[in-house]
Structures are given as structure tokens and as C-alpha cells.
Symmetry: C2
Subunit: 347 residues, 2 copies
DNA sequence: AGTGCTTGTGAGAGCGCTCTCACGAATCCG
DNA sequence: CGGATTCGTGAGAGCGCTCTCACAAGCACT
């Protein structure tokens, strides 16, 4: 359909290994050995090849190498969110950053993709299974999305951020201790004498949302009380979601004096709703968030929150994936990193 | 040096075009034609191939295709900054976002790379010239960095964000009207009766920094006065840079009553320094930024700024690059997009 | 019936690399 | 000093695809 010319835009044809070998006076095999750092080459041959490479600006054709090795030395960073969400949430950006660093550190490249629509997913599947990436870092898995299973089925190693809702037995993932974090936050609220501790949850089709809620429940029940469902308001990790959930919550239970929000962004929404209702944050109502994004500390008043080790999360995912790709076993299928409560002014 | 197994992790060997053709009862050539959407195939053959592909979960090997076509259907997004800067500056994030959208819209993939150290640059050069990407979107070019020239020299089409300091004749770039923006901001300050209009510049090894300063100079001179160099304070587009530049400025010229900052981030630093010196922003001193990042409007008081069309910039760069790759000519080597002044509370 | 076109198809030659295998030369050991 | 290793090397066979070319079949004109 396109009228694109079939061959790239290269001015003169790029030198091949053949050319390099000829110039260095060795065989293709030996030239290849030098370039890959194979040990079994004489010092003489090595320097001849290196010199020739310099002289003719030889650059190996990665596609050809990839074709025979079956490796591309790049991994995909896939986010299943809208661009809007991806770029509005510092959590994703933090993960992208640490993944990019870790990938670069391993001498690989990062292919950055965000998919929303089902057809994008199909396209990505073809792309990944086609061998342009050796593995996939998958973020923000919703519901019972089968993408990781399908990728693994096609032979593409995949590591998830966050425990999957289904298939947790067989999939590889790195997660923060969301249950523990929810418990920590709620216990802190309870310990400071709050009577009506509510929670604004994340999306309940995501494991992180469920787990943070589970932590909340555990803490409440450990305190000897039963969970009052009217204190549980469903949100979705965004500012708008937190705001709406809080508005609904306040209508139901004007007596709340503490809120555990399942994300910092949601907590910002909570703060706004609280303020607009005339309440004083930290005094009338205590608030705790989750994530510890940079803005949390800059917030006025500074937000008490559960810190996720975002950099470590991204680092760990990436290393795990690369280890899998390179066949280093045995590796832990699941890694859960600890979180910590950062007490600031709102609780 | 690695002990990696030589073949991927695929459980059973992926089906090849050969397998597909055999199953569909046609030749490899015909199967290939169907997959590429070549017109000259009978309806009968087409459906047979499609069916077979479905049945055996056939996915074409992209490396093999790439080897013969010389195309990879992916482009690199390269930022020459530290990770810190890249992720702290909404301008870069906005560019990444729009580039990712545009690239995906064209059915291509985005390889995201940030390089700081010279050896990273070399590695990237090898990677790009090796054919894993068809072209490069290059952001944040400093000084007389020869990377774009070298890429083009190796046959890799490159489009820059921002006019390069050297080689502007032969390189392709998309830029915002930085000179016009600087002029606009300064004129606004002058028109509102400000007497001592200072500027906190960007880094002067970047064209955007130079141009915004040039716009400032033009406006001052058009107002009939000479530029007072003590009112020009060199910063670097960051909050810290803006803060430091302002501190120095205030020491020199306590009488300033207006500041044009070369970026919004720098403007935030200016505001802080001004506030800490006991001045009232918008009243004692007017401030105008540049970029119109989201935080500019949320700032208290809301920041008056020059809006760059970030989304359009990224979109245009990407389209230009892809058009070049696909050989659509003639195309404009340089594109300059207009900016507009967004008047809010600080000026 | 002959000539020319279009249309759909398959055979086969690569694309540039890696990797196995075989082989001569150098080194080692009993 | 002969046999066994080791070492460095080159020949050659692919990796899985695309693309050119040739060709057979069908159709429309002379």
C-alpha cells in the first residue's frame, strides 16, 4: 500500500563482515570472533581486524546477527494504560526511569510501548513474538488480562509489575508489599486514636488495589472491630477518582476522621475534597497516601504516605527479566519488596 | 564471557514461513505476499494462508524480514541528558509522549534511550547504524555535539528537536519560535510599564537558550533602550538554576521589577528566590516563564508563560522522520512552530 | 490462429551474520 | 619420539525472510 522505496536511505552500501575480513586479511569467522570478543583469536589477527573496522567504519548488522542468534538485545517496557495515565502518574515514570537505567546498564535497549486498545495488544504480540525484543516488562495489569500468558506461550519471557490476579502460580512478578503497606497505614491511623478510619481504594480489578484494601481490612480487624463497608469507597489511583470517592464517602459518613488512600494521587483528591468540605486536614481528618511520589513531600501540608521502593522495583524487574533471558536459573518467580511508612504532616 | 544459552527460550521452535506455506498448500513466495498485503494473490490463496497462520499461530520473524528489507520499523527517541533531567522536565516527557503516540500511529515502535557519557554515545551509534532503528529523534543537543552529523553520515536519518548550533544548513530539525517567544514575553513586561526587565537565561550552549535570550534583547532594543548586561543572569532551565541565577541577579540589581525566565522550571526557581527575598511576585516583580508545562497553571500564583506547542512539536518531528525514512520528498528541512503568550497572574 | 497483455504463482538467489566442524600447527606427556 | 591435546583458523551451512524472474494460464485484440 505504501509507496516507500524498498531499500533504506544509505548513501553507499554499508561495509559487511566480508569486506572487513578481506581488508584485515582473515576469514569472516575470525573477524566475527574478534568482534564478539571470542577468546580463541591470536593477538595479531585481533589487531588487524580492529584496525580494519576503524578504517572502514564497520558496524555489524544487528538484524543479521539477530537472525542467527535469536537474540535482539532489547526488551520491551509495556504499559497497559492510556498515554494520559502513563504520563500523569509518577509511579509509571519512576518505573520507566529505573527500567531504562537497568536495561542500559546491561547493554540492552528499551522499547517503550503503551497500549490501550485491543488491536494495539495484538500488534504488540506480533511484534514481541517476532523477535524484536527478547522479553517484556509489563506494567499495570488489569483484571484477567491474558497478555502475559500469551506472551509466555509464544516463548517471550515476561516479568510483571505487581502480582497478577490470575495465573500467579506460573507468572513472574515483582511487587511491593501492598498488603503490609495498607496494614501499616491503617494501624498508624488507629494508633493515633482515630475512630472512623475510612479508605479510598484503588481500582479493584488490579491486584495492588485489592491488596491495599486487604491490608486495611486486616488492620481494622486486628484492632478488634469489624470492617464497616460504608467506610470503604472505591476509587482508581487518580486525583479525580480520589476526589469523587471522597465526596461520596463524606455524604455517607460525615463522621470520618481518617482516610487511607490507596495512592498518593488519590490522596491529593482526598485532600481537595476534604478541604472543600471545610475540614482541616491532619486535624479534623488524618490522611495517608501510598507510593511516596516526589509531589507528596512538596504538598502543603506534606503528605504522610507509604513509600514504595520504585527504583528498586524497576531495577529488580529488569534484572530478573534479563537473567531469565540469559538463562540464569534458578530464579525466584516472585519477589515482594518491603514498604515503609513515611510520617509527615497529614497523619 | 556470558554463559547464556545460544538459542532463545522458545519451548518448541517457532513456525516459519516454510511451515505456513506447506500447511496452506502454497509456495513461500505466495504466503509472504499474503502477509505483506501484496495485491497479486488470488482470494483462494489468501484465505488459505490466513487460515493456516491462525491455526499454527504463525508470527513472522522480524529479524529475517529486517535483514532483507533493511527496515526495522522502529525509531529511536534519544535524549542527551541525565536521567534526572529527562524525568524532571515535563518538556521532555511531553515530547516523549507525543512521539510515542505518533510512532505508534504509524505502526512503528519507539526505542527509548538516554545517553550521558561519551561511551553511551558510541554504543548508541553502533546500535543505530546497525539497523535496529530506521531513524533517530534527537533531543537536547548541546554545543557542537557532532552526533547528528555522524548519524547522518552512517545513513541514519535524524530529526532534531531544536535548531542545532552548528550544521543548521544540512540537518533536519523542528523548533518552536524561541526568538519570537522571548520577544513576546519581554514586550509584555515592557508594555506593562516595568522599568528594569531582567532575564534568567537557559544554558547558552543550547540554541533554545541563545534564542530566547536573543528575543529578549530584540524586544529591549526595540523599546529604544540598550541591553543592560547586569540584568542578564545565566541559568540552565532547571529550578535550581533559576534560583541561583536570581539570587545572583538580586545581589547585582536589587531594583529589578520584572524577570523573563527561559523555562517554567527556571521560573519556579525565580519565584522562590524572589519570595525568599521578601518581594511579592506579580506586584513588586513580574515574572514570565517559557514552555507552559502543566504545573505552570497550578502554581500559586499561576504563572504567566510562553506556551510551546509540545504535542505538535513531537508529532511534527516524528512525522518528518517517518516521511524521510519512507522516502517521501521534498520535505522541509526546518520547521518552526509558533508560540503564544499565556497571561496569568505573575505578569 | 497468432500476438500481446495481464494475472497469479513458484523456484531460487540472496540479505549479513554466527556457529559447527575439520584441519594443520604447536604443545604436551609418558 | 609417537600419540594425544590444545590452539587458531577457514570453509561452509544455514537463520527466515523478500524479491526478482520466469512461466503457465487466461483473455483480448488483430
Amino acid at each position: 500500500m505504501t509507496t516507500a522505496p524498498r531499500k533504506g536511505t544509505r548513501v553507499r552500501p554499508a561495509p559487511t563482515l566480508e569486506d572487513l575480513a578481506a581488508r584485515a586479511g582473515v576469514s569472516r569467522a575470525t573477524a566475527s570472533r574478534v568482534l564478539r570478543g571470542d577468546s580463541k583469536v591470536s593477538e595479531h589477527a585481533r589487531s588487524a581486524v580492529l584496525e580494519a573496522a576503524q578504517a572502514i567504519s564497520y558496524v555489524p548488522n544487528l538484524a543479521a546477527r539477530s537472525l542467527v542468534t535469536g537474540r535482539s538485545d532489547s526488551v520491551a517496557f509495556l504499559v497497559e494504560e492510556t498515554e494520559e495515565r502513563m504520563f500523569a502518574d509518577p509511579f509509571f515514570l519512576g518505573m520507566l526511569r529505573s527500567a531504562q537505567e537497568a536495561v542500559a546498564g546491561a547493554g540492552q535497549q528499551l522499547v517503550f510501548t503503551v497500549v490501550n486498545r485491543p488491536e494495539d495488544q495484538e500488534r504488540f504480540l506480533t511484534y514481541a513474538a517476532g523477535g524484536h525484543v527478547d522479553g517484556v516488562l509489563l506494567l499495570s495489569l488489569h483484571g484477567k488480562d491474558q497478555l502475559p500468558q500469551r506472551l509466555e506461550g509464544l516463548g517471550v519471557p515476561t516479568v510483571l509489575s505487581g502480582r497478577p490476579l490470575s495465573g500467579r502460580r506460573r507468572l513472574w512478578y515483582v511487587d511491593a508489599d501492598n498488603i503490609g503497606g495498607g496494614r501499616l497505614a491503617t494501624e498508624h491511623l488507629l494508633a493515633s486514636g482515630r475512630q472512623h478510619v475510612a479508605t479510598v481504594t484503588g481500582p479493584l480489578d488490579m491486584c495492588a488495589g485489592q491488596d491495599r484494601l486487604a491490608g486495611y481490612r486486616t488492620a481494622i480487624e486486628a484492632g478488634g472491630r469489624a470492617v464497616d463497608e460504608s467506610l470503604v469507597s472505591v476509587g482508581d489511583f487518580t486525583v479525580a477518582g480520589g476526589y469523587a470517592a471522597t465526596a461520596a464517602l463524606l455524604r455517607r459518613r460525615p463522621d470520618v476522621d481518617a482516610v487511607f488512600a490507596a495512592s498518593d494521587l488519590a490522596a491529593f483528591g482526598v485532600l481537595r475534597a476534604l478541604r472543600e468540605s471545610g475540614r482541616t486536614v491532619g486535624d479534623d481528618v488524618a490522611v495517608i497516601g501510598f507510593d511516596d511520589i516526589p509531589a507528596a513531600a512538596e504538598q502543603e501540608p506534606a503528605l504522610t504516605t507509604v513509600r514504595q521502593p520504585i527504583a528498586a522495583l524497576g531495577m529488580t524487574m529488569t534484572r530478573l527479566l534479563i537473567d531469565r533471558i540469559e538463562g540464569r536459573e534458578p530464579l525466584p518467580r516472585r519477589t515482594v519488596l518491603p514498604v515503609e511508612l513515611v510520617v509527615r504532616r497529614t497523619a
